[in-house]
Symmetry: C2
Subunit: 350 residues, 2 copies
Amino acid sequence: MAAHPDITNDTFLRACRGLPVERVPVWFMRQAGRSLPEYRALRGKGAMLDTIARPDVATEITLQPVRRYGVDAAILYSDIVVPTHAIGFGIDIVPGIGPVAEQPFRETRDLDRLRPLNPETDTPYVLETVDNLVAELNVPLIAFAGAPFTVASYLIEGGPSRSHNLTKQLMHNNPSLWHALLDRLADLAITFISSQLDAGATAFQLFDSWAGVLTPNEYQHFVLPASQKIFSELHNKHADAPGIHFGVETTELLELLAKAGADVVGLDWRIHLDDARKRLGPHVAVQGNLDPATVLAPWPIVSEQATNVLNRNARQPGHVFNLGHGVLPESNPEMLEKIVHLVHEYKLTP
Amino acid sequence: MAAHPDITNDTFLRACRGLPVERVPVWFMRQAGRSLPEYRALRGKGAMLDTIARPDVATEITLQPVRRYGVDAAILYSDIVVPTHAIGFGIDIVPGIGPVAEQPFRETRDLDRLRPLNPETDTPYVLETVDNLVAELNVPLIAFAGAPFTVASYLIEGGPSRSHNLTKQLMHNNPSLWHALLDRLADLAITFISSQLDAGATAFQLFDSWAGVLTPNEYQHFVLPASQKIFSELHNKHADAPGIHFGVETTELLELLAKAGADVVGLDWRIHLDDARKRLGPHVAVQGNLDPATVLAPWPIVSEQATNVLNRNARQPGHVFNLGHGVLPESNPEMLEKIVHLVHEYKLTP
């Protein structure tokens, strides 16, 4: 693979490809965020989408955990609603709640609120941030987008939801509108990720965080085609950039997440890593899967559980260490620092 | 098995035992509840725990879905916090929120707030309700209690929680207090279920609704022993009463839920029923697993998905049809009626 010349540490990219590594690469979902005092100091009380739109601040926030922890990858500071917000659908991030759409997606004419994304004019700040980051980083930068199902669920529910009833109702009651919606969201994800890769990101993660509320049948018929389109087009355009696919509560969907075209499947903490690898087979890499809540425990427990994750991989290639979901805001950064150290010290040749 | 003489339809009990049946038995978690207009009319705006404490009303509420749907089992109208509320821990059900403990469980002296349950004086209304029901019903009555982990999570979090961080912290930071707490809650569940079985219930379901937030390791070390104690003691005292064990997001815990001593493992909708049966082996019955959100779809979809659940069981003994979680309040009762009909008409001899 043609890694960016400034990337002196490409362990993460090699692990994504199932190639040999000297040590297990590690990064943390939401490594840039409220668990870091330097993040809270920089962010202040401003709106998250405003912060994302300031390249100097977004660059610094993305760099903070790389500097502090020495992780093997950076992930663009962004949010899954950035593209739909940028094209004027009418969705915002409300502090303490999450993404909120005052006028949720309900009917065919709502499709008109989802025009194609033009990265140069709609999200120029993202391109500038990626530009800045690529100049600074010596580890790969991971591009970032929400997957069609999870983004659709916010547009349809109008906000966070536990059981996603309205989303499932639209899916079953109006499958043609559903597929049209997911297809538009797939195009948005393709354009958004592609623009980040063009600007110098060297891998991408597609977040389908809430896909785990679906039955395997529903996922296969109503979600898989749109996600497949994303991986297929991105692989055509950016053959060198490995793609990670992640969602929580997806233990019964792992094979389907891989079938979507993922090079790496992200695992939450609900499954033993070796059980997941058995289901996925030898040609798919895995990322995970320490429970983020475990990070709040005393170090002997954290150390034992992190080592357990590593041991379950049994020193096979194709493992990127991560948490099973994002870093919890109440996490102690020192604990994450110790985890990075533990993972890096883990001997791959016994 | 010595079924109660008034039970003219014991299909449910036979299915729980893996014995032959003429038709697949069916009932619905939360079949008595807000989806029924007759329930809303009877309940009015009173507090739920007050309604549970009125045997005439609780009896009628339990009977309503049996009359309307012709389901093969009744489940006591109750809540998982009834015993802890009755012994004065200080937990209540707040409308629109759920169980709330103003002074959550935090330290060793909080154990003093969990004295043993005396059913005759603490929950006499439950015994009276069961008495009433047994006189009325010709189908089995399912006794009901919350499992130690799920009850503990409400006591510790002080209310509903998504990630159960405080619960996991107590578990890891103070394992001896954790085990003492779960042991007390196991004793409460044993006494509470036992009193319902003594009064004439002929099966029981132990709800560990939120156990799926745990890693398999955590479940095994911190939860399994207490749940095992419950099934073991209840099986010793009430050898005839089959026990069902249920939680959502537990697809990786199914073998452990069975290991706790369950005769029947309840499945949520996230797993294909045949995949679950493969993991559980031939000696454990299953209950489930239509997605409650599917009930909100048009009948052709509901019918297709319900039939799919039945087909995946491939006419083997040991299947109780149910939803994968409780009936959603916005469900149309006519849809549930049609599901009961479909399940009962499903031919077991092709």
